[in-house]
Assembly symmetry: C2
């Protein structure tokens, strides 16, 4: 009999392989056949861990969201509340897409276009994760306003929509167009968005955020 | 023997069906099986028109680009040169994504994420179309600068990156998040982008562009 810890380790290896596949081929490429090949298991071996491809997809969404949390959300929260946390979050988010050329891009982004016209539990789970992420961004914007740095009349929904657009455009420039200036241009866009959200010119972005 | 005009009509029907499939499922969903079902033909019937799925994909990219040209690019060129053409182009582009709920979204957008880590002629063709589109946007921005409306020091590469980001974010809000305010927020973002690109406050956006 396989001890439970071995089962857990195998499951972790399967989910790591799933993340690599989704980064490169999207959820559409995460089939039982591709996953079995990637981990060197038979399909029936996979079935000992997951009952269906839908269960693989659902578990992968949660797993990828956990990795995102530990690589993007949590490290940025170590900065001071307000603008420093917001800036660190944006930088870590860009790093998440800007990994080595061979590792593929943001695992979630393709799914926003893959699943936009399909219903079902996988779409629901992806949607819940995206709404939670946008709520987190919204909260960081609100905290930056509360600390007196951003304008009180700042439209935070518009801010979040804009920062998401900057991120998507960055992803396309970097990974589809292979533009050498993708990160630099995206950085300028982020800087300009922050600049025009400031309460007044007394809050200079450069003095508050030497990293940008 | 089938006269050539019948062949051309069938080919047009096949390509229209391909566009509908790509709008909903992306190029990943454009398989010979799906296409044959959509047009009510056998796979061997399809082979009379296209030798491979790759040829279907390549022909579809050109066909979709032609439709885009006739629905977005050309009508906007009927406006006056400069800002009116740029604004009309952006509006028609948003209409292109904002069709009836059942018709699917922008047929190209998913492919920027589907094909970002895959090489081959389909990616090359999609890339060529996207670069041509961005060159067109760039030209519209340059013309708006030349007519004295936009600032001479405007970074047109950054402008194009920003307007693409606004479009992608709009697409996600509209079709993935099903947000009721997607178009309104996107409109505000476009307006703000145009506003901050103006040469000076003497060019008020509202007086020049009553449509926004």
């Amino acid at each position: 009999m396989i001890p439970p810890s071995v089962g857990r380790e195998t499951r972790a290896l399967i989910l790591q392989a799933a993340l690599r596949i989704v980064r490169t081929y999207g959820f559409g490429g995460l089939t039982l056949g591709n996953l079995a090949r990637a981990v060197g298991m038979s399909k029936s071996g996979l079935f000992a861990h997951f009952k269906s491809i839908e269960q693989v997809h659902l578990t992968s969404v949660t797993y990828i969201a956990d990795v995102f949390r530990s690589e993007v959300i949590l490290p940025a929260l170590e900065e001071a509340e307000g603008l420093p946390q917001l800036e660190a979050t944006i930088t870590k988010w860009q790093d998440w897409a800007d990994q080595s050329a061979s590792s593929g891009g943001c695992p979630f982004i393709a799914s926003f276009f893959e699943f936009d016209d399909r219903d079902g539990p996988v779409r629901d789970s992806l949607l819940a994760q995206e709404l939670a992420w946008r709520a987190h961004l919204n909260q960081l914007v609100a905290a930056t306003t509360e600390t007196g740095v951003f304008r009180e009349d700042l439209d935070s929904e518009k801010f979040v929509s804009e920062i998401c657009g900057i991120y998507y455009s960055f992803h396309v420039s970097l990974r589809f167009l292979h533009s050498g200036s993708a990160r630099a241009i995206s950085q300028l866009e982020v800087e300009a968005l922050l600049q025009r959200s400031l309460r007044s010119s007394e809050h200079s972005l450069n003095s508050r955020s030497p990293k940008l």
